[in-house]
């Protein structure tokens, strides 16, 4: 076990728990991070020779804590003002750390650390950057790459975020059940944001941003291990796994989007799908549905269909109605309309989306779906108008390329004057 990459993965695994515990001791994020960093350096020196300890996390917390106390003592010799008020509970530095690390402390520590990153004063982009830096331990350079911004810009973003939360009061007392549930909700939303940052990337950006999806899944699994009986956390984890399973099949060699029904299903990751299905199965036993579970259940129906034509669209439509009732949104209605078009035909779906035109007048997918429904009904001129509008609203070259394909097909049909085929649905 002298290979450095194994030690690296042990350190990465231990990081959230270790930093979270050190934060509880020092009540200062920078100090906790420095202490962990110090402990890692010692581990890299010590572990290759002696082998990793039985409990690497406890080792890192203990060593990190001692190193930080040492540093403070050295500094206090030089400075007349001791920092002792921060160190009030460190007298017992020599006691076996394992005794203090009971499970519930761990849980609240990590939840607190995750929750700090979700501070409501922080815009979403700062929340994500902070979580990746502090909890996942990604370097500023790695995060900057994933966000496609310069390293110094990312450094600034993280520094600003840290300054904001340093001034905010961080709750160190153990949370009550209501607060715990609120924190869980905020943390789940942040993890979903991290995932979407990676998932919404396309084309050439995708390989650089994909690690964000892996990181989000790691955080979701961590949260689930801490709270094994929360159906929404099961749902969130299942949703991320099932979506991530399709990564390899989502784009063609040129970076153009491949729609779900055209994807090579053998390229889906069976291992992730199995885990996602097991989790949503488990969540369903609770009979306590939530938005993540419903979305995961929809993803599960797609994953279970061996061929696109095996998809249970009727059930998907029902699930979208349930989601609509939980969090009404025109985008969800639009998705339900797609399911309706598969189950009951394009006419019914078109009638459903007409009233959404006002609210979604700047939404690429609205015009994509509309164009596709019109195409299926043979209303080619109207379809062309919708597709043109969609192209003008495309968020990425991959989206534009996909719509271009429809338009090209439409112009070909016009010149050969052939009857419209069934048309690919959007």
């Amino acid at each position: 076990m002298t290979d450095i990459s194994w030690i690296d993965s042990l350190l990465t695994t231990a990081r959230p728990q270790a930093v979270a515990a050190l934060l509880r001791y020092f009540r200062d994020l920078d100090m906790a991070e420095e202490a962990f960093q110090d402990a890692c350096l010692r581990a890299l020196k010590n572990w290759p020779q002696n082998g990793p300890p039985r409990d690497p996390t406890a080792w890192l917390i203990f060593v990190g804590r001692n190193a930080a106390i040492d540093a403070v003592r050295k500094r206090s010799k030089q400075q007349p003002l001791p920092d002792e008020e921060h160190l009030s509970d460190l007298d017992d530095a020599e006691t076996a750390i394992a005794e203090r690390l009971d499970g519930s402390d761990y849980r609240d520590d990590i939840l607190r650390l995750l929750f700090i990153c979700c501070h409501p004063d922080l815009p979403a982009t700062q929340q994500i950057a902070l979580a990746l830096r502090i909890i996942s331990g990604l370097s500023v350079k790695q995060i900057a790459r994933a966000f496609l911004v310069g390293e110094s810009a990312m450094e600034q973003r993280i520094t600003r975020a840290k300054a904001k939360i340093a001034n905010a009061s961080v709750p160190f007392e153990a949370p009550g059940p209501v607060e715990r549930a609120e924190r869980l909700g905020a943390v789940a939303a942040m993890i979903y944001l991290v995932f979407n940052e990676g998932y919404s990337a396309s084309g050439g950006d995708a390989p650089m941003r994909a690690p964000l999806c892996d990181e989000a899944i790691r955080l979701a699994r961590l949260l689930l291990r801490l709270y094994p009986a929360e159906p929404e956390i099961m749902g969130l984890t299942a949703l991320l796994l099932l979506q991530h399973a399709r990564t390899r099949a989502r784009f063609d060699a040129h970076g153009a989007v491949i729609l779900l029904e055209d994807q090579d299903r053998t390229a889906w990751n069976g291992k992730l799908i199995a885990e996602g299905l097991a989790l949503i199965d488990k969540a369903m036993l609770h009979r306590s549905p939530g938005a993540y579970q419903v979305q995961a259940a929809i993803a599960a129906l797609h994953a279970r269909a061996k061929r696109p034509e095996d998809t249970d669209w009727k059930q998907i439509e029902l699930l979208y109605s349930a989601l609509e009732a939980m969090q009404p949104s025109p985008v969800i209605t639009l998705n339900r309309a797609v399911a309706v078009s598969k189950a009951d035909g394009p006419e019914a779906a078109l009638a459903m989306i007409e009233p959404l035109a006002g609210k979604l007048s700047n939404y690429f997918h609205y015009y994509g779906v509309r164009g596709s429904l019109l195409l299926q009904l043979g209303r080619n001129d109207e379809a062309r108008d919708a597709f043109c509008k969609a192209i003008s609203l495309a968020n990425s070259p991959a989206e534009a390329a996909h719509i271009r394909m429809h338009l090209d097909r439409l112009s070909k049909e016009k010149t050969t004057d052939s009857a419209p085929g069934p048309g690919p649905s959007f």
Binding site: S5, L224, A274, D281, L285
Partner: protein, 124 residues
């Protein structure tokens, strides 16, 4: 004598392995397995999905209850195991309940979805 060898390890470390690390370990394990399989000695080998996917059926005051997560008691010992093909977790739970109901020892039944199964059978 047929032996069951049960594997215990720190799960969060194993799930943090990179794809390359995981494949390297699986490759080494497969090499050992192949030798025993070639000698007709190896039975089924399974890799279980993470404990986050586990459910436990447990008898409490004569009632069997379903708990999320893996079996976490240290007072009971592993005495046996089943492999059963089910349509979903509900069916697996029903199976575990049936066993639990007829077993006066009570105890716990941890249900773990199987991720990978290599069904080589020993020639006995």
């Amino acid at each position: 004598m047929l032996y069951a060898v049960l594997c215990y390890a720190q799960e969060d470390a194993v799930t943090a392995w990179s794809k390359e690390q995981d494949e390297a370990v699986m490759g080494k394990l497969a090499a050992v397995q192949q030798r025993y399989a070639a000698a007709g000695k190896l039975g089924p080998v399974a890799r279980l999905l993470p404990t986050t996917a586990a459910t436990t059926v447990r008898k409490l005051r004569g009632e069997s209850v379903i708990l999320d997560g893996p079996f976490a008691e240290t007072k009971e010992q592993l005495l046996g195991f089943y492999m059963v093909e089910c349509n979903d977790l509900e069916e697996a739970v029903a199976f575990a309940r049936e066993i639990s109901d007829v077993n006066p020892a009570g105890g716990s039944y941890e249900i773990r979805p199987v991720g990978v199964l290599n069904p080589v059978a020993p020639t006995i």
